[in-house]
């Protein structure tokens, strides 16, 4: 196990392994996303209060999960990079940032599209929405900070520090609906209590969440391969690569 982990830290080994892993993430992701889309739009019953408007949950909640999950993954990788000086960890953090930012944007946009018909407003400065907007700014800040340095190693370290500091926002997002009186509803799925949805609605949501996770893994892995190549410019092992690898 440790040997495998150690080998994974080697850029050429990682590059080839990651290339083989992508289809294992991408194919189940597509299947689950198609199943979740059909189930969420056509099979799941309508909500008794919101009618078919509630179906936005099947794209909104997985985006929110990934926005937070992506940030935590990026911050952990950034911490590993700072502590153990692992180039691959910095590359992973760099690969996560734009993808996490895209899912945060999706969460905010789909939330807004859900808010207008249900609350009558596109936006409200309540705890959940504001902390989610702060998360988007944190992602953009990490991306901008990394690009602001001519020396890539310095950019990586500065962006890593910001990513780690920004983790404080994650519990704020999670508990904002409990701490403050927000327009946003409380958590639908919680570890500590029973979900507020019936299984015929919840099942499709769980399928979508797993599909989104696999999609995230596939896209991050693809982007990570690019980051590894950029960081390994000049290395001998790249000479043997096929342009389609």
């Amino acid at each position: 196990m440790w040997l495998w982990f150690h080998k994974l830290g080697s850029p050429p080994y990682f590059y080839r392994t990651a290339g083989r892993l992508i289809p294992w993430f991408a194919i189940p992701a597509v299947l689950l996303l198609v199943a979740g889309t059909v189930g969420g739009l056509a099979i799941a019953p309508s909500d008794y209060e919101q009618g078919d408007g509630f179906r936005i949950i099947y794209v909104h909640v997985p985006s929110a999960y990934l926005a937070m999950f992506g940030y935590v993954a990026m911050a952990i990788a950034a911490a590993i990079g700072l502590i153990w000086r692992m180039k691959l960890a910095f590359a992973f953090a760099a690969a996560c940032a734009p993808i996490g930012a895209a899912f945060t944007f999706l969460c905010l946009a789909t939330g807004s599209l859900w808010g207008k018909p249900m609350w009558g407003v596109w936006w409200d400065w309540d705890g959940r929405m504001t902390s989610m907007l702060v998360l988007l700014f944190l992602y953009l800040g990490v991306i901008a900070l990394r690009g602001a340095f001519d020396d890539a190693a310095k950019g990586d370290r500065a962006a890593a520090l910001l990513a780690i500091v920004g983790v404080v926002n994650i519990p704020i997002i999670k508990f904002s609906v409990d701490w403050w009186n927000t327009l946003h509803q409380p958590a639908t799925i919680s570890k500590l209590s029973a979900p507020s949805m019936t299984m015929d609605m919840l099942g499709w949501l769980l399928i979508m969440i797993v599909g989104y996770m696999l999609f995230f893994a596939a896209v991050v892995t693809l982007r990570l391969r690019g980051e590894v190549l950029l960081r390994e410019r000049g290395a001998r092992w790249i000479r043997g690569l096929d342009s389609r690898a």
Partner: protein
């Protein structure tokens, strides 16, 4: 079918959110692939490996 498309009158919001999601996801795939190709070209150029670099540039154009 009409009922399904209308989504209880919420069709703009429901279909809008799903289409937006699809566009963003496709955008993520395209940009990730492009990022990888560009990195491959750059890395190959700097390691003096003209053949893969040339092939990848051709593929990009």
């Amino acid at each position: 079918m009409r009922e399904f498309l209308l989504m209880d009158g919420y069709w703009v919001y429901v279909w809008g959110s799903w289409i937006l999601t699809l566009v963003v996801m496709l955008g993520l795939i395209v940009t990730a692939r492009r990022h990888h190709r560009r990195a491959l070209v750059e890395a190959a150029r700097e390691t003096e490996a003209p053949l893969p670099a040339r092939a990848a540039v051709k593929e990009l154009s």
